[in-house]
Symmetry: C2
Subunit: 382 residues, 2 copies
């Protein structure tokens, strides 16, 4: 591979969480991502080295620098080796390290949920703008070419009609140890539990849809059922988010997202977008399954005779191209370069991407508040 | 057809609602149902005659007696021509006419929702027992052979695991006229709106599942989102019903039904039953689509490599046999005969079927109460 044909964005990884493995592998597709892993920091030298072994070049060598031990994060963030930092640390540590990275003039790709609260994330965005560095979250499916296809499809109002409902599920089963001890179920770790970890994707999908079709206002959220672990962290939640078409003066001008997220159920990652003329279904919206990249369209047209209904359905196979995580790093590179060249431009892609993350976090916070209030509605339009 | 080979149950139809057409057609399969339509009563002679034309014998004749005009219902109910009455009248009229039919020693098959309140239905059951006549509701999918297959499958705890979640949707789109003027959206007609008309199926499915697997207690219900029409009748609702495994002493011993019912969305009738080892999916659980009678099983087993997840799935094709509405009338005949011969036997099928209808109505009532209380939990286990 000719790495001389572009100046790659040099990435440092802060923490050796398992999600980092997928990202290291993706980043290494230099031709597409124009990124390169150059450093890994971990409290544990062993974990850092394990992560490093994912990238071995054709000579059996890896030129990734390891920062290990107590001050590893700080040394990496101050290092002149890196242009940008990927931060998959537990949510409660994010504010500290994202700000430290930005203040040291590094671009940041931070895992979701992006912060302990939307207020923290606003502080991060301000620091990014001040330092002229980019801040993006690690939601991969957003970058999948299928997502663009779907959004383009539902925007055809003559064909799809108006979107009135989004249903989704993202669940996986953690064992007893996970539910009690994993960082994702700890108040001092990922305090939003399954709402922040899994609900994040359901909320983001609905945001993308609602923005695309013009249901921009978020009216209210509500958690109708939930389970907390002994730490008080949600491990299962059934949620409702109401978006609003403010340009439409009819009685029914809402678009409702209903979703279930859980660490207590088998892997399910279905979503359904319901329009007034068609509906659309994906069975693997977060982590694409092996094989063709599909979505299903169901026509509103149906024949009901005295016994049977017939509804026509169509399976759409999207040319898959690079994996979504590879596209994510490619987009990250593009947007970092754009900011380096032009600064933060209001209403341009980097700004929109950061603001949408902030809005996701606002919704996650409101869902946590609903749980705190016993499942009451939390209004967001006041 | 040789109608001499059995003594058919002679059915009178009270009201010429469109659902009656499907039932008349089903009943006429004498060989299977052992039932026969002998009379139709309607305020409108024209509507009654229209319904009658569905059954024309090989000689172009129909021997169905028509009762038309103001006192048509009463004359049919008192007629010696009929053994049993099918009652598809609006919900608010059910108590009066079901009681009148039972008191005139007719068996009754009453459309769902069975009553304006569970209290009314209890009065009907008492009248049925007193008069030694059978009372059943018109929920067709219960009688489908696929339903039995599914219940047998999920009861295999070694294979399916414990059922923890049921998701379902039953929606169809009514036009503006339907939403404002149809009997199903009128306070003085079917006062429960979409909750009683469509939610009924979602609730019944969950009851069948929960009883089969031993999650017998209903803890609470809650409506998390809803729309009412100008009459105050629900036309859209997102609901949660919590069932409880009282024999299981673990922390997570609930089974949650989450469902969406609506007159405001395209036809959707999916259900998903989620076990700890497998999950099961049906895309046409209420009104079977044309073609093979299917359900899908998804294994809990999955392989996640760094990019892809693979989850094995299996499509099960159930030998379909007679249509579910034909089986319903066959079962109705069997149970009417059983009561005529043996009376009401506690814990026998007729008793269980009537009690499950009553429980469905209790849940529907509680959901309506939740809407009245602004979406609060309504406890049912106190």
């Amino acid at each position: 591979m000719n790495t001389e044909s572009f100046k790659p964005l040099r990435i440092g990884i802060l923490g050796a969480a398992s999600i980092a493995r997928k990202n290291v592998r993706a980043i290494q597709q230099h031709d597409v991502t124009k990124c390169k892993v150059v450093a890994i920091a971990s409290r544990s030298a062993e974990k850092a080295n394990n992560l490093k072994t994912i990238h071995i070049d054709t000579n059996g060598q890896s030129d990734i620098e390891i920062f290990a031990g107590f001050d590893a994060y700080e040394r990496l963030i101050k290092s002149n080796l890196v242009d940008a930092v990927y931060i998959p640390l537990p949510t409660c540590l994010k504010k500290e390290w994202v700000l430290a990275a930005l203040d040291n003039k590094k671009h940041v790709l931070v895992e979701k949920p992006v912060a302990a609260s939307a207020g923290h994330y606003e502080t991060m965005i301000a620091a990014a703008k001040l330092n002229k560095r980019y801040l993006m979250d690690g939601t991969m499916f957003v970058h999948n070419s299928r997502t663009k296809h779907i959004l383009d499809h539902i925007a055809q109002i003559e064909r799809f009609g108006r979107v009135t409902r989004i249903n989704s599920e993202f669940t996986f089963r953690g064992d007893e140890d996970f539910l009690s001890n994993n960082i994702r179920t700890q108040k001092g770790g990922d305090l939003h539990g399954c709402v922040g970890d899994l609900g994040w994707y359901c909320v983001r999908l609905a945001q993308l849809v609602s923005k695309k079709v013009g249901a921009n206002d978020i009216k209210s959220v509500r958690v109708s059922g939930w389970k907390l672990n002994a730490e008080g962290v949600p491990i299962d939640a059934t949620c409702l988010v109401t978006f609003h078409y403010n340009a439409i003066q009819e009685r029914d001008n809402n678009c409702v997202l209903s979703f279930h997220c859980s660490f207590n159920h088998p892997l399910r990652q279905r979503c359904e977008i319901v329009g007034t003329r068609e509906s659309l279904e994906i069975s693997d919206f977060v982590i694409p399954m092996e094989g063709p990249s599909l979505f299903r369209l169901h026509s509103e047209e149906l024949t009901v005779n005295d016994t049977y209904s017939v509804q026509s359905s169509e399976v759409v196979d999207v040319p898959s191209g690079p994996a979504q995580e590879v596209l994510m790093w490619m987009n990250f590179h593009t947007m970092c370069k754009s900011i380096e060249d032009n600064g933060w431009a209001k209403d341009q892609e980097p700004d929109i991407m950061s603001l949408i993350s902030c809005e996701t976090q606002v919704i996650i916070d409101a869902l946590m508040e609903s749980i705190k209030r016993g499942g009451d509605d939390v209004k967001l339009d006041e």
